[in-house]
């Protein structure tokens, strides 16, 4: 099991190692971690901490993408969750109440997306576009267009505090990943999600409750987004409906894709997505450390991402496969973008392969 996972995420670990090495070369002190006033400091810690929102989002996004879906609304849901938490806490309620209210808002958003996708059978990219457009408006409605600041220590601690010297967001995303990962892999959910993503009709006819499963997956994505929204709000001690989580859905999708998960659904790995999120954050860090003008950040990030994506593109993979095939191993029998007609040839191969 662990070996299979390692083999699966090997490319991501390799890329992450490479980017971290680059960080180290740019700044030899990169791996140095210091204790300062009961809090760990260091570039590496920063990567783990700053990467938290995208990591959190990527957990839910992985599941959504595994079902052949996509959730464009998570950034807007972050803004809503932050706005809800801030407005509840500024009205004097306990921070836990605020957290649960925010989680409830996230769940509600997820439910809305899930129902549109699973019950009304709307294409996920369209269904979640609705909330992506309207969500930020709703968040602004909650904050009345201003940045709603708060000083509640409980809420602030979630975004900017520490537990056992380690920044809370790091705990949060690792804990959430473990919980979701264990629930999904120790139960049958993982298999059922993958089956639904590969062939929903077959899955339904095999007795899988695909609808509820789909709703559940979007619900989880909504919850993840809500947690990310709370973290971001806690960090800046305020809810910024305009900018909280802005374009973060794109980073989250990117993290999942860099994690080698196919946008066409099916097999998924949360670990790989998290590595993808860390890769993105490490790239950001490397650009900062390189001391290059800040203006170049986006360009370089774009170029690195393009490079990673090109390496992982199905076409390139296929060519590599053929290259190996010509040196003896068997070529892929059918491309993933499977031609609709079964060829007599492939049948024979598999028959023969056994004898």
């Amino acid at each position: 099991m662990i070996r299979a996972t390692l083999r699966r995420v090997a490319p991501q670990i390799f890329i992450l190692g490479l980017v971290l090495l680059l960080n180290f070369l740019l700044s030899p002190g990169f791996f140095k971690v210091e204790m300062h006033q009961g809090r760990l400091f260091g570039n590496l810690i920063d990567v783990l901490n700053r990467g938290a929102p995208v990591a959190l989002l990527s957990i839910g996004m992985t599941l959504v993408i595994a079902t052949r879906g996509i959730d464009l609304s998570v950034g807007a849901v972050m803004a809503i969750a932050g706005a809800v938490a801030a407005s509840v806490v500024t009205e004097g309620s306990h921070w836990l109440v605020a957290v649960f209210a925010a989680l409830g808002a996230g769940a509600l958003c997820g439910l809305w997306n899930g129902v549109l996708v699973a019950i009304f059978r709307i294409q996920p990219i369209v269904a979640t576009l609705v909330l992506m457009v309207a969500g930020r408006g709703i968040a602004q409605l909650l904050t009345h267009g201003a940045i709603l600041t708060f000083n509640d220590p409980g809420l602030v601690r979630l975004g900017g505090g520490t537990i056992f010297s380690v920044p809370t967001p790091i705990w949060l995303w690792i804990a959430l990943a473990l919980i979701v990962g264990i629930v999904v892999r120790r139960s049958a959910l993982g298999l059922l999600i993958e089956a639904t993503g590969i062939n929903e009709r077959s899955a339904r006819l095999a007795g899988i409750n695909a609808r509820v499963l789909l709703v559940a997956v979007y619900l989880v994505a909504g919850l993840c987004a809500a947690i990310a929204g709370i973290v971001v709000a806690g960090d800046i001690r305020g809810a910024d409906a305009n900018n909280a989580g802005l374009w973060m859905e794109l980073d989250a999708i990117l993290a999942v894709v860099i994690g080698g998960n196919s946008l066409l659904g099916g097999r998924f790995s949360i670990t790989a997505s998290l590595l993808g999120a860390l890769i993105i954050q490490s790239v950001n860090s490397a650009i900062l450390l390189s001391g290059m003008p800040v203006e170049f950040n986006l360009v370089i990030k774009a170029l690195i991402i393009i490079a990673i994506l090109v390496i992982q593109s199905p076409r390139i993979k296929h060519s590599l496969y053929l290259l190996r095939a010509s040196s003896g191993t068997q070529p892929p029998v059918e491309r993933p973008s499977a031609p609709r007609r079964r060829s007599a040839g492939t049948e024979r191969i598999t028959e023969e392969g056994r004898t």
Partner: protein, 503 residues
Amino acid sequence: MPTDITPVLHATGISKFFPGVIALDDVELTLYPGEVHGLLGENGAGKSTLIKCLTGAYARDGGKIELDGVEISPRDPLSSQEAGIGTVYQEVNLLPNLSVAENLFLGRQPRRFGMIDQRRMVRDARTILSEYGLDIDPARLLSSYSIAVQQIVAIARAVELSGKVLILDEPTASLDRDEVQLMFSVIRRLTGRGLAVVFITHFLDQVQAICDRATILRNGCVVGTLKLAEASRTEIVTMMLGRQLEEVTSRADRGVPGDVLLSLEEFGRRGSIEPFSMEIREGEVVGLAGLLGSGRSETCNAVFGADPADRGEARLRGDPLRLSNPRAAIRHRFALCPEDRKTDGIVGDLSVRENIILSLQARQGWFRPLPRARIEEIAEHYVQALDIRLASLDTPIRLLSGGNQQKALLARWLATDPAFLILDEPTRGIDVGAHAEIIALIERLRADGMALLVASSEMEELVAYSTRVIVLRDRKQVGELRGDEISPAAIVRAIAAEEEEVA
């Protein structure tokens, strides 16, 4: 067909290798102008591979293709089309979101002052289609017409673009009887114009009705080419299978059916299947016979809750039961092997192992995963019991042959220990060996006391295993045959009887 006419297409020594496999071995195919040439063989005999080599979809590993005496080497289906070889597949390869006229003229629309001349395009399309006996409005969307019409539009396009050889790959598979006749009349018009037509189908009666000659393939080799006027059906089948198949299947003793398991009363679904009543007993195989579109699959899907019935009631051992979705049916130990394995059955990218345990796991629920050892045990058991041939249980199921996929699907359902098994076309598109095994399995399951509902378009097959046969026509039950009444001839009579009444 006099042999002194020069062939329009002459392919010799066609060979194609896949790693470790010879898919085509020195195949020869000769087509004369104006003939309909059947291409016959079991699944995996190499028909599709041959077609793909001719059209350039595959690069052949050996051999020569001459078209009108000139050697050609198509790189892809497009270049073979330009050379003169057009192909029409069972799934219509046209664009449903464009108009009929646009589908005919895509890429070569008539232009005036650089702009597409819509009016002329529609007018030309109407002229072309009228040559095929179609009087339809070409300005309408392709998707607003039936598959048969779309099929003929595809033929028209292929002929317009190629004009020498037309390859029809199972064009009649999803057509009903009238539509097949329409198709045949189109084919005859084309051969009258001197086209050579290659016709691939699983229906032997259609081969005999339309083809002049046939080339028979087995295991990638040509077994022979015959003139159909001189060949008997037994001869063809023998050549295809390489062994004698008994024309009349013997009917084994059916035993005595047990208690009533499921009874349906006025069960139906609007627009899909007329209300019907049916009883199914333990230890009984109920066959569903009828032409395509007669409501066989619709019946299966309604009973399983895949397309839930909207009227009538169902009772399981006397207790009322709601069959509103597949899960409800599965909870009551129903199982359905659907007609279309690819889209409704297998989960292609999952391993064979996962495919086999999928339904059992789904029934167990999300949070009660099957233990690893148990999964292995179940999968191993059924691979052996059903003789599923695969390299490893980890193989994605999409890489298996049709027969093995079907067996894996059967394993999926047998693993749930069903009381009532519905099989929709269990032997469609699978090779003869697996065919016989599945029929034997049906027999064995019945003897063990399972209740089965089997829909099939193959009369002989229905005769071989059914305790009773229910005959459907126009989405209605029109008759029932029991015991010794069941014979292919009787089934055909039952289907036809209604037809005559109507006519």
